[in-house]
């Protein structure tokens, strides 16, 4: 009580110095609170908008794939095909910590027919309805319609359409839809009647293999992403079978048409004579018979329906995939899941390996990491400066109070009393001004969230914000961490001044007298 009384009155007595230390502590606590909230906001935003809406938590690839940055390789390098997806699917279905998973393909496709030029397209192949379900319907339609499962076609991003227009003067309109003038760039409006409009384009997979084929695909829709559109704006989607054709992958239809081993065995015992009838084949009079035109009529609509049915019955999972994107159940730690999944892979002997989403999207996770590091370094520097200033001010205060401290020691105060007095003074300042800084930080964070500041068309800001709007988040952990850091800085700042004060002897007071 006596110590607190002396400490409090000393603070009031040395208002100037106390205010300097206090303001530094307040600023430190304020910036740290806001900084932590920004980092938290970025992390949660990235988790919500990137992991839950685009990458998943874990990426499974073939164990023959050496690259980790599979989703965003800047050169669009192709990903090795995973073997026996159906076995992998079976294994994944037994993992109770997995919420959902979706097999995908990824590659760079060339578009031909653009005024004798071509353009590279960053394209993902998937069963699109399943994709939308997994990724919280993150893709929304701008024009046309979204792909349905089994439907052939491509979804072109709004940004890609604009780029193609800028470079080749071609405006893409989804098949079966008319031009929407409001979506045209301003300069195109002037000569809208003479626009070169295309509803389909020729695509060819670009990669290491030489099996790639060119296919003409209808443009089903023009799309954009609900969140982080500025980051993903060049991503397009193809139906999985078209992607496989385009990139020369084994399609599900190939599997359906492939001969079974039994059929192959049967074929091997049939010789040419059995097929062509030996010498009698061309000599027989029975070979050419008179025919009659059949009067059977066919219902083409019914036949078409039967054909479509046959197509949908193809097991898409029997074709090729590049990777499987896996989403974990809420609360499951990624590294725990990776460990469990690695064991499951080993047990089931599937030829696959696991990549953390951060490694699979190296540029983005590195960027987020850099943002965090920058903020952390900034806060560290701020506290370092605060530490030096507080240390210096307190040391000066200790020296200025030599007579008072020396006299206290002379009349019986132990060194511990002097230490406690300094700790009490700094603790009061730290609690009051640090607390005020944290409170002010919380108010500022709430205000910033309320203002709903947009990242605009700046993709870096989209990543810093972890979404389309600035949404810093205050958490109890963030505040506790802030308080711990504040205590730590105060404690470190106290070491030297306390050492100086403890060294003051009664004799110093008398000598000054």
């Amino acid at each position: 009580m006596l110590i607190l009384k002396i400490a409090f009155r000393n603070i009031m007595r040395h208002r100037g110095k106390s205010l300097i230390i206090g303001i530094i502590l307040l600023l430190g606590a304020l910036i740290m609170t806001v900084g932590n909230a920004v980092i938290q906001g970025t992390e949660e935003g990235i988790e919500e908008n990137l992991v839950n809406r685009f990458t998943g938590h874990i990426i499974l690839v073939s164990n023959k794939e050496n690259m980790d940055n599979v989703l965003l390789d800047p050169m669009g390098k192709s990903i090795k095909i995973i073997d026996k997806y159906e076995e992998i699917k079976e294994m994944l279905n037994t993992q109770n910590y997995i919420e959902s998973f979706i097999p995908m393909t990824r590659g760079v496709s060339l578009i031909f027919g653009l005024e004798e030029d071509f353009w590279g397209l960053f394209v993902f192949g998937t069963n699109f309805e399943d994709y939308q379900e997994t990724y919280l319907n993150n893709v929304e339609i701008v024009e046309g319609e979204l792909l349905k499962n089994g439907q052939k076609g491509i979804l072109i991003s709004e940004y890609t359409r604009e780029q193609i227009y800028k470079l080749f003067n071609i405006w893409i309109v989804p098949e079966g839809y008319t031009l929407i003038e409001e979506n045209l760039p301003e300069e195109a409006l002037e000569y809208k009647d003479n626009l070169d409009i295309k509803n389909d384009l020729v695509f060819m997979g670009w990669g290491e293999g030489n099996m790639n084929t060119d296919i003409r695909l209808p443009i089903t829709g023009i799309i954009k992403f609900k969140t982080l559109n500025e980051v993903w704006h060049d991503v397009c989607f193809m139906d999985i079978e078209s992607f496989r054709e385009c990139f020369g992958y084994f399609t599900a239809s190939d599997t359906a048409n492939a001969l079974t081993d039994e059929k192959l065995a049967e074929l091997s015992i049939i010789n040419d004579d059995d097929v062509f009838g030996g010498d009698d084949f061309f000599g027989s009079d029975d070979l050419f018979i008179e025919t009659e035109i059949s009067d059977i009529s066919y219902d083409f609509e019914s036949l078409k329906a039967q054909t479509e049915k046959q197509e949908t019955e193809i097991n898409l999972d029997s074709g090729a995939y590049n990777y499987v994107s896996i989403k974990l159940k809420p609360g499951v730690e990624i590294y725990d899941a990776i460990e469990l999944l690695n064991s499951a892979i080993e047990e089931s002997e599937v030829e696959a390996r696991i990549i953390h989403w951060k490694d699979a999207t190296a540029q983005i996770s590195m960027f987020v990491f850099l943002i965090k590091i920058t903020l952390a370094v900034f806060i560290f520097l701020l506290f370092f400066v605060a530490l030096i200033v507080i240390m210096n001010t307190l040391s000066m205060a200790a020296i200025e109070r030599t007579e008072e401290i020396g006299m206290m020691r002379a009349i019986g105060s132990l060194k511990g009393f002097i230490t406690k007095m300094f700790i009490a003074e700094t603790s009061i300042l730290s609690s009051f001004f640090g607390g005020a800084g944290i409170l002010l930080g919380i108010i500022i964070v709430k205000l910033l969230s309320f203002l709903n500041i947009s990242a605009g068309d700046n993709d870096i800001l989209h990543l810093v914000f972890g979404g389309d709007t600035f949404n810093p988040i205050i958490t109890a952990d963030g505040i506790i961490n802030g308080i711990i850091l504040l205590i730590f800085v105060t404690a470190i700042a106290l070491i030297y001044p306390v050492k100086v004060a403890r060294k003051i002897s009664p004799l110093d007071a008398v000598t000054r007298n």
Partner: protein, 226 residues
């Protein structure tokens, strides 16, 4: 009964390359209830002798025995507790804790004495009684800056006596006071010496206040000359 015994005490200071011999083998015995004045010119060693007796400075050589205990090799903690329990100090510049009132300053040493376990009420009444005795009953709740030099020195006397020390050391207690106030301070000290039987040792230049001393020790060039 001897309260203080000093035997062959020397004190040397290093000032750059030169060594100053502040005390050159001092012997002194002080009895309980003595009211002693140490006189001598500036630099004669008065303050050094008082500091060594008060355990706030170490002798270079010799023995300093307080209440039968030789303090020469005592650790800092033990010396501090000895000062708290047995010695009262009155400094030349009326060193008070600036942020505490007169009463709180007097209570201060008692609050440090954790082993005595005095109640708040006891501490308060003891401080107030002493402040009354030094004539400051009107200024109990005043802070040091609200008091005159003489009043502050009286607070210092009350603080020095509040723990019932065996010895009170006062280094030129009247040096910063006018002669009238100085005499009043000495009268207060003498009165407390008579009532409490506390041993007082004070240094001074002032011949006027020497009359209050039971005995006078003259010191010159680090040697007691009478």
């Amino acid at each position: 009964m001897n309260v203080i015994e000093i035997k062959g005490v020397t004190k040397n200071y290093s000032l750059g390359k030169t060594t100053v011999h502040a005390l050159k083998g001092v012997d002194l015995t002080v009895k309980e209830g003595d009211f002693i004045s140490i006189v001598g010119p500036s630099g004669s060693g008065k303050t050094t002798l008082l500091n060594i007796i008060g355990c706030i400075d170490n002798a270079t050589d010799g023995d300093v025995i307080i209440h039968g205990d030789n303090v020469i090799n005592m650790k800092d903690r033990k010396l501090t507790l000895l000062r708290l329990n047995s010695i009262g100090f009155i400094f030349q510049s009326f060193n008070l804790v600036p942020v505490l009132t007169a009463r709180e300053n007097v209570e201060f040493p008692l609050l440090l004495m954790k082993d005595k376990k005095l109640s708040k009420k006891e501490i308060r009444s003891r401080a107030e009684k002493l402040l009354n005795e030094v004539g400051l009953e009107e200024h109990i709740e005043h802070k040091p800056y609200e008091l005159s030099g003489g009043q502050r020195q009286r607070v210092a006397i009350a603080r020095a006596l509040v723990t019932n020390p065996d010895i009170v050391l006062a280094d030129e207690p009247t040096a910063n006071l006018d002669s009238e106030t100085g005499e009043k301070i000495l009268q207060v000290m003498k009165k407390l010496n008579d009532i409490e039987k506390t041993t007082f040792i004070f240094s001074t230049h002032d011949q006027e206040i020497l009359k209050y001393a039971d005995s006078v020790i003259k010191i010159r060039d680090g040697i007691i000359v009478n």
